[in-house]
């Protein structure tokens, strides 16, 4: 696998919604490529017939009764929001501008 270019780094930063300064992008390009080189070791392993492990405790489908129970109050749920109006969180307009 070839290394990450500067525009690759910019693309990934955009996917991750990280606003990065030009010097951060440059530094990350070097660091990420150094780390990706370590990943290359995995390619040596033959894993076609190996199933993936996503979790280790082998529990399945733990369900609970679907009943209404007390939860966070609206006031608690809104308490940490930057801007609220009544029972709503205020955000910039997404459609139609201003």
């Amino acid at each position: 696998m070839s290394g990450l270019s500067r525009s690759d780094v910019e693309h990934v930063a955009h996917l991750a919604r990280l606003g990065l300064a030009p010097d951060e992008i440059e530094r990350l390009q070097g660091e990420l490529n150094h780390i990706l080189e370590q990943y290359a070791a995995l390619a040596r392993l033959e894993t076609d017939a190996i199933p993936p492990t996503a979790q280790t405790i082998e529990l399945e489908n733990i369900l609970r009764d679907d009943v209404v129970r007390p939860s966070l109050s609206q006031a608690d749920a809104l308490a940490n929001a930057v801007a609220t109006e009544g029972p709503f969180i205020v955000v910039p307009a997404i459609i139609g501008g201003s």
Partner: protein, 531 residues
């Protein structure tokens, strides 16, 4: 004796002796808690172990505990282990600052959670309240638990009580330093790749990562959800077991917390005479791959001596191979960042946490600025790694591949259990505590410090670190690794090791920097780094 002397005596007790003293009425929880808060506050300039010390809340909890203790004494049940009372009643505990305590700050060591007040208690916070333990405050950590030195905290590094110019390990470095420095007898941390065991080793205390699913993660700030696990720090094995007993068990709000009974034997670990016989006939595996290249000779020597001590106490130690160990690091640094990049997507600056508005404000631009300014260097690095490993075209090559190798790593351990071993013994960390800054400029060097701990998380197993001596005056940790749900067996083995080394000269060693830490003119860790 004067108040200060009394305080020093109280903070040097083990948690189980504190419990006995409280139930006997020899001192009150208020006295005990005040003594700890005094030391914590006095030494925090030097150590920066605490992000928040909650005098008011802790004293209120202490008064409540004293009332419960008095009621128990009045009805004649106030003897040790009174019916209906957990032995932690009235005993102080420190919490890593990613454990939610309702109405209090929970920063996870990050600027992006500055000012956030948790709207609810974590499950383990509720469990501690039920037991009557007293929460002293919140301890420093690497931002979002990403790091091995606590230097990645947005609130400055924590110093190691054994040497103020060195790191305490991480990510739960504040919890480890607080317990090592007797600011608290007990602390909780989280361990995703070694974040309890490694700082426990570097600070000379006991730390345990339980089996994945043993402790509920409800109310814990998430890093890597298939790896994160809460566990105890303590100055001895019995105390660690007692704290694990208080917080372990099924919680409906974390679907991965397992319906597995928590053994009461955790509260009944034997005294030294009985414990010394525990090791007789035990089969213990010694994985040759854990003596990695670059391991410090002093660390290897202490671990080999510990192995010899286990053998002389009657354990049968046999060398084994865990052949996929060398792939652990790469596998971990794909799986953990991938899960982190998904978990940290929630920090949008809208519902809670730091918000930085772009000019002009715009949904996307606000996200970019909030996250770009709110997250620190290591967190951004991991989000980038994880996002890349999960991105279109690379998923199979990285994330799926890593999950398959994870199967192989787990298989290595399964083979050891199938062969009838009771536990694995290994080094916890390849090195002792290192000077501030020594590994900051090379992420891979920092990541390598977890080479002996992170395979255990990949396999979901319980692991424990216990002090096994000093190298150049700094603590070395011995790691015990067990099969799933074998926490009690592991703690019993560690208790056995503790008992057979109870009279070793290094056992009596204490952190040497205490006098310096008490000096209010001493530089903070951050100032020390800048020099």
């Amino acid at each position: 004796m004067a108040g200060a002397g009394q305080g020093a005596d109280l903070t040097s007790l083990t948690a189980h002796d504190m419990g006995i003293g409280l139930r006997a009425g020899r001192f009150s929880s208020r006295e005990l808690v005040s003594a700890h808060l005094d030391v914590a506050e006095r030494q925090n300039q030097a150590l920066n172990a605490w992000l928040a010390i909650d005098w008011e809340g802790a004293l209120a909890q202490a008064y409540a505990a004293d009332a419960r203790l008095a009621a128990a004494r009045a009805d004649g049940s106030g003897r040790p282990r009174a019916v209906g009372h957990h032995p932690l009643l009235g005993v102080p505990v420190a919490l890593k600052d990613l454990i939610s305590v309702r109405g209090g700050p929970t920063t996870a060591g990050s600027r992006i959670l500055e000012g956030y007040l948790a709207p609810y208690d974590a499950h383990i916070t509720e469990r501690l309240r039920d037991a009557g333990a007293v929460i002293l405050g919140k301890t420093n950590m690497d931002e979002f638990a990403m790091g091995s030195s606590t230097e990645h905290s947005a609130y400055g590094p924590t110093a190691n009580p054994w040497a103020l110019d060195r790191v305490p390990g991480g990510s739960s470095g504040g919890s480890a330093a607080a317990v090592a420095a007797s600011h608290a007898p007990l602390a909780l941390g989280t361990d995703t790749g070694g974040s309890i065991r490694q700082p426990a080793a570097l600070c000379g205390i006991v730390g345990m990562k339980p089996t994945y699913g043993r402790v509920s993660r409800y109310g814990i700030v998430a890093f890597a959800s298939s790896l994160d696990q809460v566990g105890p720090f303590a100055r001895d094995v019995r105390d660690a077991a007692m704290l694990l007993h208080a917080v372990a068990g099924r919680d409906e709000r974390d679907a991965t917390s397992a319906p597995v009974a928590v053994p009461d034997g955790l509260l009944a670990l034997p005294d030294d005479d009985a414990a010394a016989t525990i090791l007789r006939g035990k089969r213990i595996a010694l994985p040759r791959e854990y003596f990695v290249a670059g391991m410090e000779t002093g660390v290897e020597a202490r671990v080999r001596e510990a192995v010899a001590a286990l053998e002389s106490a009657g354990a049968r130690v046999e060398e084994v191979s865990l052949p996929h160990t060398e792939y652990g690091l790469a596998t971990y640094y794909i799986v953990a960042p991938a899960e982190a990049s998904a978990n940290l997507a929630r920090y949008d600056g809208i519902r809670y946490g730091r918000h930085v508005a772009a000019d002009p404000p715009d949904v996307l631009a606000n996200y970019l600025r909030t996250r770009g300014e709110g997250f620190g260097r290591e967190v951004k690095r991991r989000i980038m790694l994880g996002t890349y490993a999960l991105s279109a075209g690379y998923y199979d090559a990285y994330y799926l591949k890593a999950q398959k190798v994870r199967t192989l790593i787990k298989g290595d351990f399964d083979a050891v259990w199938s062969a009838g071993f009771d536990a694995i013994v290994a080094p916890t960390s390849p090195s002792v505590a290192w000077p501030f800054g020594a590994k900051l400029s090379d992420p891979v060097a920092m990541y390598l410090s977890d080479a002996c701990t992170l395979p255990v998380n990949m396999a979901g197993l319980p692991g424990l670190s216990i002090p096994c001596g000093l190298s150049d005056g700094l603590p070395v940790g011995l790691q015990f690794i067990g099969g799933p749900w074998q926490e009690l067996e592991l703690l019993r083995l560690a208790r056995g090791y503790e008992a057979i080394t109870a009279t070793a000269d290094w056992r009596g060693a204490r952190p040497t920097s205490f006098a310096a830490a008490d000096d209010s003119a001493v530089p903070s860790p951050a100032e020390r780094v800048r020099r």
